[in-house]
Amino acid sequence: MPKLIIDNREIEVPEGIKVIEAADRAGIYIPRFCYYAELGAVGACRICAVKFVDGPVKGIEMSCMINAQDGMVVSTTDPEARDFRRHVIEWLMMNHPHDCPVCDEGGHCLLQDLTESCDHGIRRYKGKKRTYVDQYLGPLIQHEENRCIQCYRCSRYYQEFAGYKDLGVMGIAQRIYFGRYAAGVLESPFSGNIIDLCPTGVYTDKPSRYTGRRWDYERVPGICINCSLGCHITVSARYREIVYLEGRYSGKVNGSFICDRGRYGFFYANLEERPRQGRVRGEDVPSGRAITMAAQRVKEVSESHGAAAIAVIGSGRSSLETIAALTHVCKVQGWRGPVLFDSRVSSESVRTAVSCIAQELAVSMKEIESADFILTVGADPINEAPMLAMAMRQAWRKGAGVAAIDCRSLDWPFQFEQVTAAPDDMADFLAALENSETTVISDRFVAQIKSIAAKIRACHRPVVVCGTEITDSKIIYGAAGFVKAMRQAGQEAGLFYTLPAANSYGAALLDEIGETAEDLIERIESGEIKALVIVESDLWDTFSDRQRLIQALEQLELLVVADFMATEILHRADIIIPTLSIFEAGGIYVNQEGRAQWSPPAYAGGTPIKITGQGGHPPRIIRPDIPAGDISPAWRMAWWLADRQPPASHDLLLDWMGKTFPVLEKAANFTSEGIRLYLPEARRKTARETGGRKIQSLGEYLLLPVAAVFGDEPMAQRSPCLEGYAKHPEMWMAASDARLFDASDGDAARLQLPYGPLELTLRLSERIAPGTLIVYRCPDLFWQQFARSSRFIVPKDRIRIEKKA
């Protein structure tokens, strides 16, 4: 451990870190533009120059290029070093436009800050400034290349860190240009990070352009809930709406970056269509009144049909507080539920995964970056949990091998080897990898499986990533079993599941029954259930048999829907109760590794001024209260629905949760990095074979809807700026199957399904498992009809191919 002195302060740092990082650890800030911890040090901008006064290095050197060594004496304030840094700023400001007043970066601009702090004030350069033509980079990022100071952060991030090629650097000398070869929408689903990375205003957030300065905003650390990973974000709010989200550093979860779905998936909270007052049988009422009336009606149903005639549905997008409150209320009132899973398959998968994950097996996403081999089974990170793909790429960059067992044509920004397996065969492949038992798998895969098995055996820190969407509980158990076996063999193996929603894990922690919406529908049909309370869930979007759903809803005496989004089911409710989003209520979310993280409220709530002001500027509606400021968080509402008093404050709620649910005992006192929660041994499911394998016969195809990064996440789907990002309806088929249809890539496929015809563009790939048809979920498609509540088998004669013109 080298000891060195920086600005008269002696510090001891780990071997191999740069002087700039050593200074950071001591709380001494050395100016930087090109240096960014996660992108590494490259020595381009020269602003981090410091004076090495004594020790193994002498004179002015770049602190990002020199390793901290024993005996170094470093001065960051040496006059010579300061003078040089002042000149570096002068050079950078030669061409930088003085457009700070109209630049969105102004106020949080690193160049602005360092120009001030490095004491460059008077422009001496008399020449002209060079100018560039800006590019259209899509609806998310505004490009303003004139402001560029050539720090190379964007191109290094985009190409080296993220692995995409369509944005980079062109030209040399003062003609250097950062952008795309031709204007166009950026291809990477991680593109927004260049906004956070750019030290000045070359890339700024487009949807929030010209809305305010950093200091105008209420800025709060938050947790992203657009997938199960729980990445750390910073929320900026102003005038009762969310302005933008940024990546926030987490040494356990996401590092510094976030995906574009998370960054832009917040607009549901701002939308005009969002429910902001109660509604009872078509009439607007204050939110509190709607709750009282709902409680009254629920009580009536309970009195006439018994408490069991009332059922509650929640979901994995609710906070742990809400799920806990619903669970408690159902229990004490004798109501059914809460049902927290869409279908039997997803309930089984998620609860199995949560049951398998244990303290010693779980790895955090950040730990995946240091894995030396990654095996994925039925997981498509880029579409299911995007930042996981970034973590895997970092491991790959350090030399880790990646292999995938999957039936999809996976497309990831790094090299990997795919074993193309039908969903029914994935468990066998996994078993073959674990115990070299290759008799059950097809001969043509034996060599590949053996070679992957050898690679896994040869490494020290393998990680198995297992999806829960297209896998069954046998595979999910299998993944955990494989990891345990490797650990017994002395490898530091880790286990990582992806889950369908931000709080699926939290739901599985509290849900001891595992009842699903299907079960409830059956009971509505049989007349057992007369009243349904749906909280932050949308059956319309998740239940596959829509005809059956409509009929079931008609049989109900009461449908109460409480949500912070204008879902389809909301419009069919007798009573609508608005709830608060995570940005107004805050909430605990348990990510897929079991990490419970608290996301505090970012603003007090209420209808955005943009909406109440009706476009006028300045808004001149004067009133004593906050419009729609009376909405309660769903957890409070849960108690009120049962005519009971909720805990008086959030702190008391946490105390109550810890006392009521043993599994949440630690939930009240966690740190900024969250706390890991695991199911107690007694509640873990034991492995059991799932029912006999359902092999479809020749001439039958398994139609499998799968996740798409911008296609199906219920919240991000509502963001206007992401509209163009959803895939067009496509159906992927194995190239070998396509020969039977004489079909080629780009043909039109027409499927005759029970609900009518389905038109899709046919795509072919060698990496689709034969007998499988893959459809990426997208808003333009009624994919719910073949959702995986039941295996959807399509006979060959129901598939028609029309040649493209």
């Binding site: 020595g43 381009a44 020269r46 001496r124 000398a173 250097i176």
Partner: protein
């Protein structure tokens, strides 16, 4: 007339054929090195070190030492790269050397490759040198047929192939580490050693980069011995000959092979035919655009790496650009700076932004808009170039610094007269 070594067989309008080269004793050194069982490839390194062969690309790094930095247990394949990306303004010796005798270079490369056990040799050639590139490709083919290139050379264990690669066409590609990035298909930004290319170079494998002229010397050192090579020079510490590219206000500009340490005055008067009629010597650049001006006081200086270094100058590539008393050195320096400002790779700030800034100030001085405070500004910026990423910017600042050191009066005259004295006729 001094002995001719590298340019001995220079023919008018044609290259030396393989047969002619063999008749002159060509490929004998290679044959002997590979067939003599008592001769270890490492001995080539020792010989070159003893001979005092210094890199002729401008940096004058001892060739033997560079070879020794390839570790014995370094991985394979190893690479030898011939840097023929000759873009230093005023320098044209490599082109002449290739077009004189391609086989001299080929033999030198195979020997250098043998010395470090490199199995792949690459000629990274400037794309404007298409004629030379084609000549090399043709002669490499002939050498391969004759068994000088390929597998198991002279029935030894040693394999070596030569590839001709045309450069991406920028000055910075000639910088040793930027060249490696360019070869890998990346942007030609320099790399920051360590690791040095001899440890982790092309594709992170050991790579030795040598200049054309350096490689051409190797067969002669092996064939004629260390002492012979040393006696070729006329300076105390120098060794071998130096091919000077002479240009500017002289009667016979061209390429001249002269002993290391020959006097500048001798080059100009005896070989380049003296100054043009009506011209007096004012200054010259001894080794291309990135070296300091040699003022008149250095007219009799010995053109040797050590001699010039000790006097505060650099021999560089030995490209002697001669300026006469009618040439405005402010304008000449600004002209050089146009080149450097344009050719900066754009990686680091001092070079990318500082050089155009210096150019702007020089242009203003030349145009009569100069201010006295420009001079300390330029001086300071030139000294700041030492804190840039690679050696490009300090090289670009060298002529400017020497302009202010030796010709400050001329610069001041521009400022005081509000214009270029050469243009408004105040100096004859």
């Amino acid at each position: 007339m001094y002995p001719q070594v590298l340019l001995k067989n220079r023919k008018k309008d044609r290259i030396l054929s393989l047969e002619e080269y063999r008749e002159m004793g060509g490929y004998k050194a290679l044959h002997d090195a590979l067939t003599d069982e008592s001769f270890h490839p490492r001995q080539i390194q020792e010989l070159l070190l003893d001979a005092g062969l210094l890199g002729r690309g401008g940096a004058a790094f001892p060739t033997g030492i560079k070879m020794k930095t390839v570790p014995d247990d370094a991985p394979h394949p190893r690479y030898l790269v011939c840097n023929a990306d000759e873009m230093e303004p005023g320098t044209f010796k490599d082109r002449v050397l290739i077009l004189t005798s391609p086989h001299q270079l080929i033999e030198g490369m195979i020997l250098a490759a043998y010395a470090i056990d490199a199995e792949i040799a690459i000629i990274f050639i400037r794309r404007e040198y298409e004629t030379a590139a084609r000549a090399l490709e043709q002669e490499i083919g002939r050498a391969r047929e004759a068994g000088y290139i390929g597998k198991n050379l002279f029935d030894s264990e040693f394999d070596c192939d030569i590839i001709v690669h045309r450069s991406a066409g920028r000055y910075i590609c000639g910088e040793g580490t930027a060249l490696l990035n360019a070869l890998e298909g990346k942007r030609a930004n320099p790399r920051k050693p360590p690791p040095y290319p001899t440890v982790k170079g092309l594709w992170q494998l050991p790579t030795e980069v040598q200049n054309v002229e350096t490689l051409c010397c190797i067969p002669h050192v092996l064939k004629n011995g260390v002492d012979w090579f040393k006696t070729l020079a006329v300076s105390k510490t120098g060794a071998g000959t130096k091919v000077f590219s002479v240009s500017g206000k002289v009667n016979r500009p061209g390429c001249y092979e002269l002993p290391m340490g020959v006097k500048l005055s001798e080059i100009i008067e005896d070989y380049a035919g003296g100054m043009l009629p009506g011209s007096r010597f004012k200054a010259c650049m001894p080794g291309g655009a990135s070296t300091q001006f040699l003022p008149e006081s250095m007219y009799h200086a010995r053109m040797d790496f050590d001699d010039l270094k000790n006097a505060g100058f650099r021999l560089g590539t030995g490209a002697v650009m001669v300026f006469d008393h009618k040439t405005c050195l402010v304008e000449a320096t600004a002209n050089l700076m146009v080149f450097f400002a344009r050719e900066s790779c754009g990686w680091c700030t001092p070079c990318r932004e500082g050089l155009p800034y210096i150019l702007d100030l020089l242009n203003r001085i030349e145009a009569g808009e100069g201010e006295v405070e420009f001079i300390p500004m330029i001086r300071q910026m030139c000294s700041h170039m030492n804190y840039s990423y690679c050696a490009f910017a300090p090289g670009a600042a060298a002529p400017v610094e020497s302009l202010l050191t030796y010709f400050e009066g001329e610069v001041m005259a521009h400022i005081e007269n509000r214009g270029c004295p050469f243009k408004i006729g105040k100096v004859n």
